[in-house]
Symmetry: C2
Subunit: 196 residues, 2 copies
């Protein structure tokens, strides 16, 4: 087997570990916590379905690719909840180390391409990255909505925190931001989310 | 919320169920069986990494999209193992019913687009579909390799069966077929797979 295909196969086998990285979110049936691999699949499909709500003309396939690879760094860095301010302190550094180790399993041209995609999403400045980040925030909200705020209740999260953390959705899509507000308000009305 | 976004959201929530559909394959660390959502993520990334081995010039983004949505029908039809000839008898019919129900949750233009993509992969005649099907066969082989043939041993699968079932890889990529043969032969040599 040639060396290039060997490296690619090693990468493909290595990323299987993302299936064992647990996120804070519960599945919509509340049966168990979600892992980062299945989450990445879910949010990539969201991009395919919701692309029309992006204000600017974007390359949807590029959004999908970024979302597919965006959490691979968590194999080394772990998943850090968006409300966990302590663990977030060295998040960027840990994830950067993870990105370098894991993407560099690939041949150099591909590792560079994936590192660039990963960095683009982290930077969040291109229209594609802004839209991808909006979707990545929107989906945990839907999981909380479907589980009557199970994760929020366990972590003592309030309306004010949810509103603050999800502001980023506005940068990706005005329509999805309005939708986000309607979901948050319904969660408050239903008693899933306490408002101070 | 407008009706279009309502339908899209219902679809996005519905497909969360794919995370609870178990496949025959074990994770590469053998800790548990894999589900169809995380499998879809894995095989979509394989398309991104291995596209260069397709003989013809293909639209990689289209392969990725087909692979992302290809197993959604299993929410209704269940996952059917590639060696299970009895369950495979009415597989096509059950999956077609599943595709119609689930994709039709979406607005009509999108449901048609996804039904077309799903049917293209099932038909397996376009270069993109052939390549996608090759990857979908290759990955369980790697899972068996990594787990010393755990699933094969449990199901009493032989070298001859593995060779027959994986012939389809040849249609997607000659290089990946040669790689497949080398992996199968190594599995036999290591005692992971009995040869009659």
């Amino acid at each position: 087997m040639d060396n290039r295909l060997t490296r690619q196969t090693e990468f493909i086998i290595e990323i299987d570990k993302l299936k064992t990285v647990l996120r804070r979110a519960y599945l919509t049936d509340a049966s168990r916590r979600e892992n980062s691999a299945e989450h990445s699949w879910h949010v990539a499909i969201m991009a395919l379905i919701l692309a029309e709500y992006c204000q600017t003309d974007i390359d949807v396939s590029h959004v999908i690719k970024m979302l597919l690879i965006h959490d691979i760094v968590e194999i080394d860095a772990g998943d850090i909840g968006i409300y966990d301010k302590v663990a977030s302190l060295d998040k960027a550094e840990r994830e950067k180390l993870g990105a370098n180790r894991i993407f560099n399993l690939l041949p150099q041209d591909q590792s560079q391409a994936l590192l660039n995609m990963w960095a683009e999403l982290e930077d969040g400045t291109t229209p594609e990255a802004k839209f991808a980040r909006a979707l990545d925030r929107l989906i945990p909200l839907l999981h909380n909505y479907c589980t009557q705020g199970k994760r929020w209740k366990e972590d003592g999260i309030t309306y004010e925190q949810v509103l603050a953390v999800n502001q980023i959705i506005r940068e990706g899509s005005q329509e999805l931001w309005e939708f986000t507000l309607s979901v948050i308000n319904e969660c408050v009305a239903e008693g899933y989310l306490p408002k101070n």
